[in-house]
């Protein structure tokens, strides 16, 4: 039997690979965006600190801006962005 493929549509899924399920600041799942955004994805990325804790970039930046000292809210180590 011969089959002719007339057309096909590719489908892909993605997810962030984080060491946790939810952002510790906004408590939203990492696979959805922070509460200030509409769509998950590159416009609402995750960031890691040198301490290996992970947050939505918007959440951690908002927190760091409101603080005299730049510390990870999870472990209180000085916050440094881990550029990996």
């Amino acid at each position: 039997m011969k089959v002719t493929v007339k057309s096909w549509t590719g489908v892909a899924t993605w997810r962030w690979v984080a060491n946790d399920d939810n952002c510790g600041i906004c408590r939203m799942p990492f696979d959805s965006c922070c509460p200030d955004c509409k769509l998950p994805g590159d416009d609402c990325p995750l960031v890691w600190g040198a301490c290996s804790h992970c947050f939505h970039i918007h959440c951690i930046v908002k927190w760091l801006h409101s603080q005299p000292q730049q510390q990870c809210p999870m472990c209180r180590q000085d916050w440094k962005f881990n550029n990996k």
């Binding site: 489908v11 600041i25 408590r27 939203m28 959805s32 005299p68």
Partner: protein, 242 residues
């Protein structure tokens, strides 16, 4: 930085926390909303831990959340009379975890003991429960209670004035609770029973890792039928609700 219009992030964080506390109550306290349509004011009730002066007590408090929660801390005011070094005359509770981490050398509180956005109602109330029996006498809100507490502690319980007041308040609070039809747990067993239930339901944590593995497997095998983006959507709407 505190704006008066509640942010959607505050609403969502509170809705999530409220839901999880309803589904999986934590030992030692219960929460409910003061008004059905306002997530920013909760009524919380703390059970006095068994084998302490507070045994049998049922302490009601209001918990108020700022519009920019969880970036700013909630506040707690006891409605039940509480004679405690860290509770003001009007019931306001003074505890470092509810103070924003501003630089204030006068307070004697380390920034690391203060509020941060990863704290939650659960962690705050557990701190409050442990504060009951271990007051902070460094900067007391109720100086008389603090002096009395230290006398009781330093006399190793021989000076019973503090103890008597607390036990009496706990007893009165318990009678009030009974009038409301609430049974206050008196034994450690009853007090902890919820945790035991919880530890069995904690298995989903293990499942979660499986879930991820499965997910990756699925991606490898039949990515065609994987319209599982719908899963993410499900999460989304679920959280946006209520």
């Amino acid at each position: 930085m505190s704006n008066t219009v509640p942010t959607s992030s505050a609403l969502r964080a509170l809705a999530l926390e409220y839901k999880s506390l309803q589904e999986e109550p934590v030992e030692g306290f219960r929460v409910k909303l003061l008004g059905e349509d306002n997530l920013f004011e909760w009524e919380v009730a703390i059970f006095g831990p068994p084998d302490t002066l507070y045994q049998g007590g049922y302490f009601k408090a209001h918990m108020k959340f700022p519009p920019d929660y969880p970036y700013s801390p909630p506040s707690i005011r006891f409605l039940t009379k509480v004679w405690h070094p860290n509770v003001y005359e009007n019931g306001d509770l003074c505890i470092s975890i509810l103070h924003p981490p501003v630089d204030d050398p006068q307070s004697g509180e380390l920034p690391c003991e203060r509020w941060n956005p990863t704290q939650s109602v659960r962690t705050v109330l557990l701190s409050v429960i442990s504060l009951l029996n271990e007051p902070n006498t460094f900067s007391p809100a109720n100086v008389d209670a603090s002096v009395m507490y230290r006398r009781w502690r330093d006399s190793k319980g021989k000076d019973k004035e503090y103890e008597n007041i607390i036990r009496k308040q706990a007893q009165v609070a318990r009678m009030d609770a009974e009038k409301e039809g609430i049974v206050v747990p008196l034994t450690l067993e009853d007090y902890c029973i919820k945790t035991q239930v919880k530890s069995t339901t904690q298995e989903p944590q293990l499942d979660m890792t499986d879930f991820y593995d499965d997910d990756y497997d699925d991606l490898d095998t039949d990515s065609d039928e994987e319209l599982e983006g719908g899963e993410g959507d499900g999460d989304d709407s679920g959280n946006g609700e209520s």
